[in-house]
Subunit: 342 residues, 4 copies
C-alpha cells in the first residue's frame, strides 16, 4: 500500500505514519517529492485496511498496489530515477556508457583499456574481478588484486567503477573499492544475495537472468529495494532461446516495457548478448534507438589475447568510433522523444 501525504503534512505527521507502520511489523519506505511525500508499506501478508491510515493526520489518500511489485513502480515514484554512481549519473539526460574489458587481467591491460575509455568521454569503467564461469576450470578472476587495480584506474582516470560481486564477501570487497556493484544474470534470483546488497549504500547494476520474465526481473529489483537500497539500475543482456546465430537473443522490447511500469533506469549489454564482435555496434545503436539509458560495452586493448570472451570485445579503434556514433544517435533520439506521441 502507498500512503500519499498532504502537501502541507508536517515532518511529524510523516514520522507518525512511519511509526505506526513499523509497530504493525511492516517496513516503511519514504519517498520525499517536490510537492508531496509518499510512504510505501512492504512486508504485509494480505491487504491492509486503508481506512486505518486515511484517518491519520496529514494523510491525503491511500493507494492499493495490485501488482506483485511496489517500489519499482511508477505508482510509488512517478518520475524516472536518476541514479548517482560515483561522480556521475545513470538515468539522466546523458547516455551512460560503461566500458572496459570482460576481466581484469593485468595492470598493463587494464590501464590501456581505461585510457581508451577515458579518451572516449565515457564516465564508467567495467572490468571483472570475480568472474562467474560455467566451468570450474576456467579463469575465475583475480579477486581483490583486480579490485585494487580498478581503484587505481578510478584514481588515475576519474572513471567510476562498475564490477561484479558473486557473494557476500565479494560484495564487501567491491563496496570498498568500486562505485557500483553488479549482480550477474546467473545470480538474479539468488535472493539471499539480493537482500544483502539491498543493505549496501552503493548502487546496484542488476542483470536480467537468461530465463527471467519481466515480472521476475522487476521483482528481483524489488528484493533489493525492499531492503532500503533504492539505487538499482536494470540491465538487459540477452535471453535463452532456440535462436543460435548469437550467443543469446537480445530482447530489446523489454526497454519500453520496463519504462512503462518502472521508474528505474535500464541499460543494455550488447557484448554479452551477442558474443560476437561484428554484432556489437549494430545492437548498441539499436539499444540507444529503443530508448535505453546506457550501454555496457566490452573493449580490450588486445581482444585476441583476452583470457575471457575475447571474441566479443571491441578493439580500441572500433570502440572509439562506436562511441562517437552512439552519441549522435542519442541526441537524435532525445529530440524525437520531445515530440509527444498522440
Amino acid at each position: 500500500m502507498l500512503i500519499v501525504m498532504k502537501p502541507n503534512a508536517t515532518q511529524k505527521d510523516i514520522s507518525c505514519v512511519v511509526e505506526i507502520i513499523e509497530k504493525l511489523g511492516y517496513k516503511a519506505h519514504i519517498l520525499p517529492g517536490a510537492a508531496t511525500t509518499v510512504v510505501g508499506i512492504t512486508g504485509n501478508q494480505g491487504a491492509l485496511d486503508s481506512a486505518y491510515f486515511e484517518n491519520l493526520s496529514g494523510v491525503a489518500e491511500t493507494i492499493r498496489v495490485t501488482k506483485p511489485y511496489k517500489l519499482v513502480t511508477r505508482d510509488w515514484k512517478p518520475n524516472k530515477s536518476v541514479i548517482k554512481v560515483g561522480n556521475a549519473e545513470i538515468g539522466g539526460d546523458e547516455l551512460a556508457v560503461i566500458a572496459g574489458p570482460c576481466a581484469v587481467e593485468s595492470r598493463e591491460q587494464v590501464f590501456k583499456a581505461a585510457e581508451v575509455v577515458a579518451k572516449s568521454g565515457a564516465k564508467f569503467f567495467r572490468g571483472g574481478a570475480f568472474k562467474p564461469r560455467t566451468s570450474p576450470y576456467s579463469f575465475q578472476g583475480k579477486g581483490e588484486e583486480a579490485l585494487k587495480l580498478l581503484a587505481e584506474v578510478k584514481e588515475k582516470f576519474g572513471l567510476n567503477i562498475v564490477t561484479e560481486a558473486m557473494d557476500e564477501r565479494g560484495v564487501d570487497l567491491v563496496e570498498k573499492y568500486a562505485d557500483c556493484i553488479q549482480i550477474g544474470a546467473r545470480n538474479m534470483q539468488n535472493f539471499s544475495l539480493l537482500k544483502y546488497v539491498g543493505k549496501s549504500r552503493k548502487p546496484i547494476l542488476l542483470k536480467r537472468s537468461m530465463s527471467a520474465t519481466l515480472d521476475e526481473f522487476l521483482l528481483a529489483a524489488e528484493y533489493i529495494m525492499a531492503e532500503g537500497n533504492y539505487n538499482v539500475i536494470l540491465c538487459e543482456r540477452g535471453i535463452r532461446t532456440f535462436s543460435d546465430h548469437a550467443r543469446n537473443t537480445l530482447d530489446l522490447s523489454i526497454v519500453p516495457a520496463v519504462q512503462r511500469i518502472s521508474h528505474l533506469p535500464i541499460v543494455v549489454d550488447p557484448s554479452h548478448a551477442s558474443g560476437k564482435n561484428y554484432m556489437v555496434a549494430p545492437l548498441a545503436k539499436a539499444s540507444i534507438a529503443v530508448g535505453a539509458d546506457g550501454l555496457l560495452i566490452e573493449v580490450h586493448p588486445f581482444p585476441q589475447k583476452a583470457l575471457c570472451d575475447g571474441a566479443q570485445a571491441l578493439t580500441p579503434a572500433q570502440y572509439l568510433e562506436l562511441y562517437r556514433q552512439i552519441q549522435i544517435m542519442h541526441k537524435i533520439i532525445c529530440e524525437c522523444e520531445e515530440v509527444a506521441f498522440a
Copy 2:
C-alpha cells in the same frame, strides 16, 4: 558449386557451361556481373568434380559452396541485392516503409489508410486479403474483393502493393493484383508453396517463422531462388520464446547476421512482433538503427474498430510522426556506415 567465368568469356562459353550443367540433370543459375558472370549449380546430390568444369572454355575458376545454401549467399552474389517492387525498390539507399492495416476491411478503411501512407512519403502499401488466423472462426479476410480494393489503391495513390498469399490459388490472385507476394511466418516451411512462388515473376516478401533458425530462414529463401525467382526480401517479425511482455521476441541480431552471409535485403515488422501499440515506435527505431532495409508498420484509421490486431496498429498521427523520425534515423545510420570499422 559456383563457376566463375573469365572476364573475356563469350556468350557462347556461358551457354555451353549451362548446357552441360543441364545435361547432367542439374539446374544452372546465371548471375551476370559488371566484370564477370557467375553460374551457380543446384540440384546435385553430393560434390561435383570441379576439374570437369575448370577445363571448359571461358571458365576462370570453380568455388565449392560448403554452406547448406548457395544462391542466398554473398559467394554467389557479393553485392547487396536491390529488389524492384512495382515502381520502387527495397534494399537500395532509400528506407522501404511498407505500411497499412492488418486486414482490408472496407473501401473507406483502406482508402483512409492509404491516404495517410501516401502522405507520409512511403512507397509501399500493405493490407491483408487472405488472413492466416489461429482460429477457424476468426475473420479470414475478404479475398479477391480485398485485392481489387488494393488494386484501386495502387491506381489512385501510386503505392506499390504487398499482400499475403496462403496457397496456390491465392498466389495466382495476388500476382494479378499486387506488386509483391508475402509468404507469412506460418508458411515459411510450406515447401510446396515456396516452390510455387519460386516460379512467380513477382518479388516475394518472406517472413521468418516463429521457430526458424537463421539457417532455416535462409534455406526457405533458397527454396524460392532455386526455382529461379531471385527477388526475395526477408522479414524478421519476432520469435517464440518464454518472454511474455510482448507477443513475440523481436530478434534484431538476425539483421547483421543475415547481412554478413547474404545479399538479400531484410526488413523488420515491429507491429506483429510486439503486438502492442506503445512498443511499435521504439522497436521501429531500433530496427533502423540495427541496419534493416525497411519496416512493415501497421496503421489503421480507427485502430479500436479493427477486425484484426487492432491493439498494435498505430493511429494516423502516430504513424506520421514515426515516419518523420525514422527518416532522420535512417540518414544518421547511413552516415555512420560510411565510416569503415577497423
Copy 3:
C-alpha cells in the same frame, strides 16, 4: 454454441435444427450419442441468441462454448474418440504403433521394414513419399512411386498406411493409396491445407508445430473438424527450445493436457523429437507411461544407409525388443488407470 437435443427428439426435430442453422449461414455438426444427439454450430461471428434455439421442438438445452475451440472439446463430445484407420483403430484399448522408415527409398528397403513391423504385431506402417526437407537440395521423397510401394505393403502385409501430404495434389494422391493422411509439423498452421484435408474422408494425423501452444494445436485440429472431418489424431513430436542435447524437446505434459480438454486421441513420435537412436526407447516408454494412445517409431533395415534421418532409426532388433516392452508397459498403465484417483 452446442444444442443438446432431448432423448426423445425425432430425426425431424434434428433436421429442422440443422436447417435453421444453415439458413443463418452457419455450419451444423451433428454428433449422435447413445442417449442424446448434440448439434454444434460453427461459423458464427459473435455470440448467438440461445433463446432462439431453445424454443425449437426437441431441443433440451443450449451450451455456450467460451473456449476458442468447440468441436475438439469434451463439451461437444464427452467420450474419447476412437478413430478408425484402415482396418484398425487409434484411441481405443489397444496401443497404436505406427512404425516404418522415415522415407520410402526402394522396394527392398520398404518390404524389409514392413516385414519387421508386421512381425512385431503393429497394425500401422509409416514411410514418407513426400518429405518436407529444410534444404531444397536434400532428398525430397519418391512421390507417387513411393505411394505405390506403400499400397503394395498394405496389400501384402495387411498393414494400414500412414503417410504425409504437403499440398493438395499430395493429399489427393495419399487419399488414393493410403489409410491416413499425415500433416507435418511445418504445415500445422498451413490453414489452406487444413481446410482441404477437412474435406477428406480419410483420417488425419496432425503433428504439433515446433512452436505451437496447446491452444494453437487444438485450433489446428478444429480447422479440420470445422470442415466436417472429425477423424483427427494428434501427435506430439517435440518443440523448439534452447535445450540442445536432443533435436527437439519432447513435451510429454501435453498428453494429459490434451486429454483433459479434448476427446481426440494423441500419439507421440520419440524418433523425430530426439533425433538420436539411444533416446528412442526410453522416450517411447515414457510416452506410454504418460498416457499416449500410440507411438510413431522409425525403424529401418539398415539405419546407417538411410537417405534421411538414419541417426534416429531403430534397427529391426531394437524395434522388436522395444515393441515387446511397450506392450508390457501399456498393460500396466491400463491397469493403473482403472484405479480412480481421488
Copy 4:
C-alpha cells in the same frame, strides 16, 4: 587428465602421484576401484604433459579428458554412483521417492505429511525451511524452526531429510539438521554456493536451472565435485519454454542424456515442473519409464490450505495410490533394462 594406476600399484605409488599433482598446484581426486585406482587432476589451465606422469612408478596410462567436465563423467568413474543419503541410497536398485510438502508450515502439517510418506514406504522426506520466492513479499519459509521440525520427523519416522539451502548460513544449518542439501534451480549457477557445498560432507541434490543446457548442468555438478564432494544427485524439474499449458516443460530426454555421459544419479520433480495436480501422476510415471533414479513429489495433508504451491500438491490418497503404481512401473522398467539392446 586421468591417471590410471596399475593393478599392482602400491599405496606409496598413489601417494607419490598425488604429491606431485599437488606440488604442481593442482588438485588430485582419488577414485579407488575394485581392480585399479584412478587419479583425476583438476585445476590445471591448459593441457598437461602426459609423458611426465606415465614415467612415474605404478602408473599404467594417462587419459586426456577433452570434455569440459571430468569428475562427472564415466571416463573418471565408469560405474553408476550410488549415493548414500542418511540410512538409504539414491542411484541403487531401489527407486528413491522424496516426498513431502513444498514448505514446512507447522508441526501438525509436517507430521501429518510425514505419516503419509512413511506409510507409503518412501525413505526420504522433503519440506522447505528456506523458500526461494519470486516476490520478496511472499512467504519465505520458517528457517531454523522448520529445520528443527524436520529433525523431529527424522527422529520419529526414520525418514531421511532433504531440504534446500540458499546461502552459506543456510548450508551450515541444513547440514546440522538434515541428510541432504538441496541447491535450487535458481542457484544452479551460484558458483560461490556450489563451491561452498563442495566442501560439505553431506550429499547434494542439485536442481537443473530453468535455462541450463546439459553441459551447464553437468558443469555445475563438476563445481561441487571439484571441491571434493562427490555425492551429487542431479534433478530435472522443467525448463523455460514458450509452452504454456504447464508451469515449465519437463525435459525427460535429459535422463538418458545424463546417463550416457555421467555416473551421477538423476531424479525428476514432476510437481514443480508441471505446477498442476492433475499432471503429477502421469509425469511421475513417465519419469520412471524414461529411467530416472527417483522422484520428488509434493504431498500436503490439505493442499488447498498450503502457503506455497498448493495447486500442485497431491492429497495423501493420491500420493499413496501413485506410490503403489510407480513401484509396479519401476519393477517392469528394471526387468526391461536387463534385456540388452543390440
